[in-house]
Symmetry: C2
Subunit: 342 residues, 2 copies
């Protein structure tokens, strides 16, 4: 089985975007503010948006199952206040849940959280709990910078995040550390902010002792770990300077990297320097990079081709990257699959 642990609902029917536009307009003109119940999207519309997009490509590429979460760039936690985010997160999570129910063999949910800049992360717990107990999500997406590129929250090692971690541990949920749209003109969202956040989050973990407090906490750093694997020697050396244990001991029981790296040399590097037990297959399809690579004739984000082609992995390694590691790092996913005899 091939499990893609990183897919977002980037192709939701336009009614969703329209509702969000009204919600944002309502922040300055409350007469325009919509109710959650004003949004109505039929099952048929959901089915079409998936069948012609993600599912079509999954079939083309031979991918079986996607861990599916709301569109990352649309989370936009910087907009409005907690209530704005709470309503928006509830809507987006419910849509992903419906997709997972409509396509139970191919999609399983991961939840976005109703984060808001300056608001205590523990306010996210009711939504998180609902998504676990009612929707059966197997992971959450945690935004280390709800300000959208101004980085006004404390690092992930700060105790204000601990209620989230306690819930993650209690529910056996990993978190993908994933920012949203940048509203800082310095940072292009998918070309700079995403990758920077990945590197930043890794370094926040490296300088802290977070995983001493939470030995079973699990973070997935997406986009191949940002700059981390390319600079693995730098990070090993920095850990040494900082008198931390070696990275394998210090971080690799808890941190995992996905394979959203859109060319063969990048995947070759990732699979050279990062232990295979810490690499989980993903493509972030349909996402930031949708074109065909003229150098290969294939989609940039068809990451399965790079995993299949790399000389660094044995068949057993590929099984881990495609399926085994996901089942280990996402225990609720494993249980959901086993309950269906998969």
């Amino acid at each position: 089985m091939i499990i893609d642990i990183h897919g977002h609902y980037t192709t939701a029917p336009k009614a969703l975007e329209d509702w969000r536009a009204r919600q944002i307009a309502g922040l300055t003109d409350p007469s325009q503010a919509p109710k959650a119940s004003d949004l109505s999207i039929s099952d048929d519309a959901l089915i079409e948006s998936i069948e012609t997009n993600q599912l079509a490509k999954m079939r083309e590429r031979g991918l079986d199952l996607t861990v599916f979460s709301p569109r990352a760039s649309f989370m936009a936690h910087h907009i409005g206040d907690f209530q704005t985010s709470a309503t928006w997160a509830a809507i987006c999570n419910e849509l992903c849940h419906r997709v997972a129910r409509l396509f139970p063999d191919h999609f399983i949910g991961a939840a976005m959280l109703p984060q808001s800049p300056g608001v205590d992360p523990k306010t996210c717990l009711p939504e998180l709990e609902k998504c676990v107990t009612e929707y059966g999500v197997v992971a959450i997406n945690l935004n280390p910078d709800p300000s959208g590129g101004h980085w006004t929250s404390p690092p992930l090692s700060d105790r204000s995040w601990y209620p989230i971690y306690e819930a993650m541990v209690a529910y056996d949920l990993p978190a993908m550390i994933h920012v949203s749209t940048s509203c800082n003109a310095c940072f292009h969202t998918t070309g700079a902010h995403y990758l920077n956040a990945d590197t930043t989050a890794f370094m926040q973990c490296l300088t802290s002792d977070l995983f001493k407090d939470f030995p079973t906490l699990k973070f997935i750093i997406p986009h191949g770990g940002g700059a981390v694997p390319y600079h693995w020697g730098r990070f090993r050396g920095l850990a040494q300077e900082l008198k931390k244990p070696q990275l394998r001991e210090h971080l690799l029981h808890n941190i995992f990297f996905d394979t959203c790296v859109y060319h063969q040399p990048g995947i070759d590097l990732l699979t050279t320097v990062i232990p295979v037990d810490n690499i989980l297959f993903a493509s972030e399809m349909i996402g930031a990079v949708r074109g065909i690579d003229p150098e290969t004739g294939h989609a940039y984000d068809d990451t399965r081709r790079y995993i299949d082609a790399t000389l660094n992995l044995s068949d057993e390694d590929r099984f881990k990257v495609y399926e085994g590691n996901a089942r280990r790092v996402y225990p609720r996913l494993d249980r959901a699959l086993k309950a269906k005899g998969r």
Copy 2:
């Protein structure tokens, strides 16, 4: 000849740091503010600080010449106002100039600028001009984020930066795009902020048409280009989405990467995906990562070993990386060398 284009004066005598501490104290208590002339460092002290550190390692590693600039993390442009930075930059640039005069065969200067958050970059021109005409610097270090991790300046494509670029073009000076200390708790300085800035600067260039306005402008993105080479497919794909020319045409006449990547697989990747004409040897020694890699028994920042060992470069390629490209991208360096028959 082996030219290291990225060395900082990280080992200056402690009197420099003490003077800076007094300058910072003077911001809140003007009675403590020192005069520039209060700093006195003898030639002997400079010589010792270099001979026992950078020059010793250059000899060990067989490096001939370093492009030498003030300590990057100490630029700290976020401290004080323009006058604070102006006095500090003048002191630091003069020290590097003295090092270059004391060791003319081994060091040649690059200037830091007296940038200050929210202050028009053109205020840096007098210091820049002095460093070129009086000190003979061959490059500048340009900080894309003088706020120190808050990213409050406009992107490098903004017209407010143009006076700097006009001077660079007029003087045949390349700029290394290099941030300083992070005062944002989210970003570790050398583990996150430096690499993030590299990626950010590259993407600012990618999304803009800066090099249409300045076809001969040259930027060096240090630290191996941040996350860029590892994600080269992503950036090629993003350029395509944004209807920009292919990256070689769009950016690689103007953007160059150094080799400050502290392990073999990183250098192998860099030399696989980036054309050899765009790679310049550097180690940033003595810098962020000073230890011995237990996996190799050699210093992490002994980057010559990786360049020598990589299978991706021919002898001709190595000449370009070690010397030829530096002479082309730093025309004033080439002229200075030729004037000495080198």
